[in-house]
């Protein structure tokens, strides 16, 4: 298909430069300090997979503690050393460190860097028709700051006082005072350094994504013709750019409080037998600053997954995504609202209850655009012609998880109900489904769907099916029971509940069940890992457009080089969702096919566009319309 549109030759000045660049590419410039967005995307993906394994493994350790508190786990001593007590139990402080690092790793290193980093980098230039990112160098820096951040965070797992242990939100004073918990010593310092580097990486990446989407779209690729993936990545980057600096500020003030004796967050503290001199600070201030990022962050995590899902569902249902405008509108709505709902994490933090009312109102409003998304996905499936690729299965899984986890948000967003549910397992169930699992499923959908583009080979579908069904059943078996445990009032971040009669004698069996389900689900991920790495080297060669998709990335060579298209960049003539168009011979019409070539399927308006195309020698297309 792609050959048709190269007729309008638009020579890119970079092109030759790129071509001869390829001749003296060394191993280092190709795989390590690369400026090619595709390779950088893969670097983010590999690092993300590494972190996902670490984050998942940490959760298994504390799940074993929760499921089988009486078990002798001395066998972990070769790995965990002194963190296993002489009685063969997990150290309670290390339990908190595990919970903290699991959260930090999953939210930031896997679902932010591993998801946005991978797919924004890989897909933005390919889907908008650009040679590369606006700044390849900044893009490279973005990865290497992330790498440096990863090294610091990973090292903190091995220090004597243990990694940060104040929960992934690291609320002061706990995180500010070494006397309060050993993890708040060197481990916390490393956490803050790693996060600072991470924020730099995110900002470098985000600026690049935004600039690239605005400036480097190919001929004819108006905003109204952008695939929803790109819309999602674009809006995600804007949210990140606006919110991460606030986290940076919060972290900086925390560093001051920890090391330079300031009192931004500290006041009236008596600890370790002495009254500290700091007065006038407020721990609640930190919470406001943290959640000003923290809440947008959950949308930073889920929105790219939405984008991927929209694209995959539309392609494999062989139907246009239902309500393209509403899908973009709901992304914009969610993005805007995500900035003004942060204090719903703080209903019982002691802040003014009136604020609680306001934030409850705004929070529940956010359910409306979310509901629109779900209904639009369902309608896209309705009367479709569904091909169940592994990517499609994971996308459908995402919709289910998003419904299940999203609905419990309506409980938690209601401040009156939240009084009881706050910081119980109900919250754990909620965000693991709606943010954790749903975003993870989006990431998996993306990996399966774009694997052929990334590596030029097909990933094995059957293993993909097995992986999907085990994971889908698995995450529900792990996280759904937590709702009941939460309704019964079990607080989160508890090493054991046996100190309380209220929480003893019930649900120990359910907790054990959850742990077993978690182990099986984790084990199932090795099916994916095997399939992934095996297929990179030994998978069947991919055809150019394996899913019969409309978007631009499938017009590149099977293994695109630096610069993506060997000849001119293709021109775009239509939106990306012309699937199963009445009258058309095939059930898809790529974006590069002009209306003048498809008279049989054009609407009246599109025929007018076709006439315009002819006038301008199939070159200029009116951007105002789709």
């Amino acid at each position: 298909m792609s050959e048709i549109k190269t007729q309008n030759v638009h020579i890119d000045s970079h092109e030759e430069h790129h071509d001869d660049h390829a001749h003296h590419e060394t191993f280092i410039s190709k795989y390590i300090f690369t400026t090619d967005h595709k390779m950088i995307g893969k670097q983010f993906l590999m690092t993300g997979i590494f972190w996902a394994l670490i984050g998942g493994a940490l959760s298994l350790i504390f799940r074993i503690q929760l499921g089988f508190p009486e078990a002798d786990i001395s066998w972990m001593r070769p790995m965990l050393g002194e963190w296993i007590t002489p009685e063969g139990r997990l150290d309670p402080e290390f339990y908190l460190a595990l919970v903290t690092m699991h959260g930090t790793i999953m939210v930031f290193f896997v679902l932010t860097a591993g998801l946005s980093g991978t797919f924004s980098n890989f897909l933005i230039p390919l889907q908008i028709g650009a040679r590369d990112m606006a700044s390849g160098f900044m893009n490279m820096l973005s990865y290497w700051f992330f790498f440096a951040s990863s090294v610091v965070m990973f090292s903190s797992l091995f220090i004597e006082t243990g990694p940060a242990a104040g929960g992934w939100v690291v609320y002061p004073p706990l995180s500010a005072l070494e006397q309060a918990i050993p993890g708040s010593g060197l481990g916390m310092t490393m956490w803050l350094v790693a996060m600072a580097l991470f924020i730099v990486s995110t900002l470098l990446g985000g600026i690049n994504y935004i600039t690239t989407v605005i400036n480097l779209r190919t001929e004819g690729m108006s905003f109204s013709r952008l695939p929803l993936t790109i819309w999602a990545f674009f809006i995600t980057a804007v949210i990140g750019l606006l919110s991460f600096p606030v986290l940076f500020a919060a972290a900086l003030l925390l560093i001051f409080d920890r090391s330079f004796g300031t009192a931004f967050y500290l006041s009236d503290i008596y600890i370790g037998g002495e009254a500290l001199p700091q007065q006038g600070g407020s721990p609640v201030l930190y919470q406001h600053l943290f959640w000003f990022l923290g809440h947008p962050e959950v949308y930073i995590v889920i929105m790219p997954a939405f984008g991927i899902t929209s694209e995959v569902i539309s392609t494999n249902a062989r139907k246009p995504i239902f309500g393209y405008r509403a899908m973009v509108g709901s992304l914009l709505g969610i993005a805007f609202l995500s900035f003004i709902v942060w204090a719903h994490h703080m209903f019982v933090s002691g802040m003014d209850p009136f604020l609680g009312s306001v934030f409850m109102l705004l929070t529940l409003v956010i359910a409306v655009p979310s509901a629109v998304k779900v209904f639009n996905y369902l309608t896209t499936l309705w009367k479709g012609n569904i091909v169940f690729t592994p990517g499609m299965l994971f996308s459908i899984g995402l919709v289910s998880l998003f419904i299940s986890g999203g609905l419990t948000g309506i409980f938690l967003g209601n401040s009156a109900i939240d009084i009881q549910l706050h910081d119980t397992y109900f919250v754990v169930a909620h965000f693991h489904l709606v943010m954790g699992s749903a975003a993870f499923f989006g990431m998996m959908a993306g990996v399966y769907h774009w694997f052929p583009k990334m590596f030029g080979r097909m990933i094995n579908a059957k293993l993909g099916y097995v992986h999907f069904w085990l994971t889908f059943a698995g995450v529900y078996l792990v996280f759904f029971p937590m709702h009941y445990i939460g309704i019964a009032g079990f607080p989160r971040r508890y090493y054991t509940w046996s100190s309380f009669e209220t929480f003893s004698n019930i649900f120990q069996d359910l907790n054990a069940f959850v742990t077993i389900a978690a182990i099986i689900t984790f084990a199932a991920q090795f099916i994916f890992l095997f399939n992934f790495f095996y297929s990179i080297y030994r998978g069947r060669r991919a055809p150019q457009n394996p899913w019969h998709s409309n978007t631009l990335e499938w017009t590149t060579p099977i293994e695109p080089g630096h610069g993506n298209w060997p000849g001119a960049i293709p021109t775009v003539y239509r939106w990306p969702y012309d699937y199963s168009k009445p009258g058309a011979a095939d059930d898809y019409i790529p974006q590069t096919v002009p209306y003048s070539e498809t008279p049989e399927s054009n609407t009246d308006f599109e025929n007018e566009l076709a006439a315009l195309e002819k006038e301008s020698g199939v070159e200029e297309v009116d951007e105002t319309k789709e």
Binding site: P353, T502, P582, D587
Partner: protein
């Protein structure tokens, strides 16, 4: 012995891996031989489509069964005025969201099966429908407005100022326990300052304040039934959070920023004991804000008595001043105006009876 097991285990794992890889190779080759890898949608498409409604059935069935069967386990007895209201909101929300949950999931799994791929048919080109989209924007918006409003009324009631006649009880969180302080006779809690805290005077009470002289600090939280209680909450070191699960009470304890939560207990401990047929039942207070190593063990026993029993109990409590006279003669307490204190403490002790407001 251990090593043998380890070696056997490793061998087993490798063996399983080898078998799996072989099976995988065979399946791949069979696919290539049958040419099914070239088809748009092979037999797997049917199987995956079929698994969708089966999964949906097991999923929804499982949830309904378990929610029904273990209701007694997760339903926590409620013992406060406002708790009844928030529980009601909880179940109303459950009804609304549960309906949406079931319907959307039925559609999701049914469509997946019903509209599976077939070479013979073509999907419906259906890019938008403004009316439909408006409908499912407006209907959820209305439903949410109702939920928001009902929540708002309850929330405003709960967080309104404590009634004048409420008993003020101080709850202080520290690593890793709770302390409680009662106002004593005068119904007023004495001043405190964190810089006055020492090993004995763990609340940092300022005993130069007369109101402090009759304060007492028992080892559990005891409250009367049907009486407004206002918890004055603070923390000494890091964040903690007061959680009284049966009373649906939760409020963070923040160093440097006192918070409060008021509520009315509706059932005495004895009443719940007979109601649940559990003679050992005890109300408890837990911590729900991560606070360090002992976070999971910050338990405080809570007891609800009838008004009469409470009066009697309170009148039996000795003031802190009375119980810690050494502190004022020998310890750090010397810094307070001692002779006068001893006198008044004595006096108070004699007069001690419960607040007339009761």
């Amino acid at each position: 012995m251990d090593n043998t097991l380890l070696i056997l285990g490793a061998f087993g794992a490798i063996l399983i891996l080898v078998i799996l890889i072989t099976v995988f190779r065979v399946i791949t080759l069979v696919d290539v031989a049958k040419g099914s890898d070239k088809k748009r949608a092979s037999g797997s498409n049917f199987n995956n489509a079929l698994l969708m409604p089966i999964f949906g059935l097991l999923f929804l069935g499982g949830i309904f069964y378990y929610s029904w069967a273990s209701f007694e386990d997760y339903k926590l007895p409620v013992a406060s005025d406002h708790g009844v209201k928030t529980d009601e909101l909880f179940w109303i929300t459950m009804l609304v969201t549960g309906g949406v949950f079931v319907i959307t999931h039925i559609l999701l799994f049914w469509y997946s099966w019903r509209y599976r791929f077939s070479e013979k048919k073509k999907a419906l080109f259906y890019p938008d429908n403004t009316k439909l989209e408006l409908a499912w924007t407006i209907v959820p918006a209305i439903a949410l407005t109702v939920l928001i409003l009902s929540g708002l009324f309850v929330w405003n009631d709960i967080t309104a100022d404590a009634p004048e006649d409420a008993i003020n009880i101080e709850v202080m969180g520290y690593q890793f326990a709770w302390g409680v302080r009662y106002p004593g006779n005068d119904g007023e809690l004495g001043d405190y300052n964190y810089q006055l805290i020492d090993n004995t005077n763990s609340f940092g009470v300022n005993f130069n304040d007369k109101a402090a002289l009759d304060d007492f600090m028992p080892l559990k939280l005891v409250i009367p039934k049907d009486t407004p209680i206002n918890l004055n909450i603070r923390a000494r070191d890091v964040l903690h959070s007061v959680f009284l699960p049966h009373f649906r009470v939760k409020m963070d304890a923040v160093p440097g920023m006192p918070t409060n939560f008021h509520f009315v207990a509706t059932k005495t401990t004895d009443e719940v004991r007979s109601e649940t047929k559990n003679p050992d039942f005890k109300y408890e207070m837990a911590c729900t804000e991560i606070c360090g190593r002992g976070h999971f063990s910050m338990r405080l026993e809570v007891e609800v008595l009838t008004k009469e029993e409470y009066k009697k109990w309170a009148s039996e409590q000795k003031t802190w001043v009375n119980m810690n006279q050494d502190y004022f003669t020998e310890g750090n307490g010397k810094r307070f105006e001692l002779p006068k204190l001893a006198e008044e403490g004595q006096e108070n002790e004699e007069k001690l009876s419960v607040n007339a407001a009761l």
